[in-house]
Amino acid sequence: MSNHRGQPAIETTGLVKTFGENRAVDGVDLVVPAGTVYGVLGPNGAGKTTTVRMLATLLRPDAGEARVFGLDVVGQAAAVRSRVSLTGQYASVDEDLTGMENLVLLARLLGHRKPAARERAASLLDAFGLTAAADRQVKAYSGGMRRRLDIAASIINTPDLLFLDEPTTGLDPRSRNQVWDIVRAVVAQGTTVLLTTQYLDEADQLAGRIAVIDTGRVIAEGTPGQLKSSVGSGSVHVRLRESHQRAEAQELLTRVLGASVQADADPVGLTARLMPGGQAGPAELASRALGELAAGGIVVDDFSLGQPSLDEVFLALTDRKNAAAGGTHPTDAKQEAVA
């Protein structure tokens, strides 16, 4: 438990892993501060799991360096293993055994004597709401219960760093919230959590910092707020009463907001993406725009002002990357905006 303050929990430079022709991880640089939840966000196949597996000493990097609490994951793998725990993407528990047996087995492997192992297993099962299912085979557990057992198995010895690889993929909303509560409790106690996810709201909910990964590279990094403001300070959405006034309204909004305004699929809908950096805030700009619309005799039925979601951030970032790679993409206004 020797967390030197200031020493990052994870530090990687130029991490590479190739499988045949495929560069699954292609030069990843990460710095994960200790004591936080760090989100690694990306679509399927982006290289999230491969990165985690290298950090958890399961895979050897082909190039680059990775240190966990200053320990090299290749040269000091055994020391790294004693400080980390991994909850993999697929339940890392034995389905043939009961919940109790799984935890006792792992507690014994971590050096607890039999009575202590049983005691520890029982209190974990209790805290994770699995006491009633303790003597059932894991096979018969629901997805959420299995995931909780999996996380319980990872904290038999409270680790300094916990890897959670897509902990809520495939879970129903209730189970997902349970996992979120557990993650918050784990980090509150002082453990650093590296969480991979393909759900943007999950990273937004839990993570202090996020790295967005696509095709093996980090394409953006920062706090959720920073990532959001990188694509704009929000969006204004209006619905008009009369569809024939839309062209006029679009022109007017473009002028007042100083932003690109797109016609929605809805024949009376318009969406404007506000850019940061102007003197006026988004709310001020929006109210000015509404005033102009009213003055121009355009009736607005519905109006909303929204923060950009991480989904928008993610799509904008991957769009920009595709554009940089020479691809043509229809939403060029967005690319320009985030460049």
């Binding site: 438990m1 679509p43 597996r53 000493t57 399961l58 895979l59 055994a78 004693s82 991994l86 993407q89 697929y90 339940a91 890392s92 528990v93 034995d94 389905e95 043939d96 055994l97 087995l105 792992l106 014994r108 492997l109 971590l110 050096g111 004597r113 209190s123 974990l124 209790d126 805290a127 994770f128 709401g129 299912a133 085979q137 018969a140 557990y141 629901s142 997805g143 959420g144 219960m145 999996d150 904290i155 409270t158 809520t168 495939g170 129903d172 209730r174 349970q178 509560d181 409790a185 784990v186 509150a188 106690q189 002082g190 453990t191 393909q198 759900y199 709201d201 999950e202 989904d311 991957t318």
Partner: protein, 290 residues
């Protein structure tokens, strides 16, 4: 590309209905409080714990004992009555010759399930968990083999009992039979490292089975288990003479018949040591680099 819906892949199970757990901060905090970390377990203790896991799996899935109970009985009956009259004049005569061999055949064939078990675990997440544990590295592998040694012992005893019922009488007595079974289990432990290697190397359970069959069929049939090698063509005799299975059968037969052949026993022990040295090393190399 990505949408945040998580409903499509949710597996609904009946237990969901009673799953009304709400995590409470207090209970989570109490289990998360960093307790004292015990020292890491010894190599022996870690291996035995992994062996205990194999026992638990047998407890929960007893059907897996079919291959060490029903299969050996089948083999003994089949070969005794199929070949007995033709090869030795009578089934009683033949049983006397066959039984130690069929014991070796059944047990050696059973060893392939080690590879299958390793491979199955890899395809599930549990293997990753084991590999991130700070324990003696070969312990997980030794654990599989400890569980399997119990299976080998069970298969040997089953065959012995069937043999005794059919009229087999070992002149080597209790000591000879026990020594033969121990030698067989020891060799099978060593031999199984080939399968742990293939279990780690190959991509699917089916390919592990396939490779195992390809090795085990010739290795067990092309030996002195069913017939005396004297009637075989010269090139085949050459193969049979160097096969470790032949030496194992000769040693086991000697022990059970009461004329112990220390040369053959020595041969088997050396072969076992070599198997562990070569395939144990390769297995651990794969286990660490996977």
């Amino acid at each position: 590309m990505t949408t945040a819906t998580s409903t499509s892949t949710t597996k609904d199970r009946p237990q969901d209905a009673e799953d009304t757990y709400t995590p409470t901060a207090e209970s989570l905090q109490s289990v998360l409080a960093p307790g004292e970390r015990p020292p890491r377990p010894s190599a022996l203790s870690a291996s035995l714990t992994f062996g205990w896991r194999s026992m638990l799996k047998i407890k929960h899935v007893p059907e897996q004992l079919f291959d060490v109970t029903v299969f050996p009985i089948m083999m003994t009956l089949m070969f005794t009555y199929l070949f007995g009259g033709a090869l030795a004049g009578s089934t009683a005569e033949y049983l006397q010759y066959l039984l130690p061999g069929i014991m070796v055949m059944s047990v050696v064939m059973t060893t392939m399930y080690t590879g299958v078990a390793v491979n199955t675990d890899i395809s599930k997440g549990i293997f990753d968990r084991f590999r991130t544990l700070p324990v003696w590295r070969p312990a997980a592998m030794v654990g599989y083999l400890l569980g399997d040694m119990l299976r080998y012992a069970l298969a040997s005893v089953v065959i012995l009992v069937v043999g005794l019922i059919l009229g087999y009488r070992p002149d080597g007595g209790v000591f000879g039979v026990t020594a033969a079974i121990l030698l067989l289990i020891g060799f099978s432990f060593a031999f199984s490292w080939i399968w742990t290697m293939f279990g780690l190397l190959l991509r699917s359970e089916k390919s592990v089975m396939g490779v195992s069959m390809m090795v085990l069929f010739p290795l067990t049939f092309l030996s002195n288990i069913l017939v005396e090698p004297e009637t075989m063509p010269g090139w085949l005799q050459a193969f049979v003479d160097v096969s470790p299975v032949t030496h194992l059968v000769a040693a086991a037969r000697g022990l059970m018949d009461g004329n112990t052949d220390t040369g053959e026993i020595g041969w088997v022990l050396v072969a076992s040591a070599v198997l562990i040295a070569v395939f144990g090393t390769l297995t651990m190399r794969l286990y660490n680099r996977k």
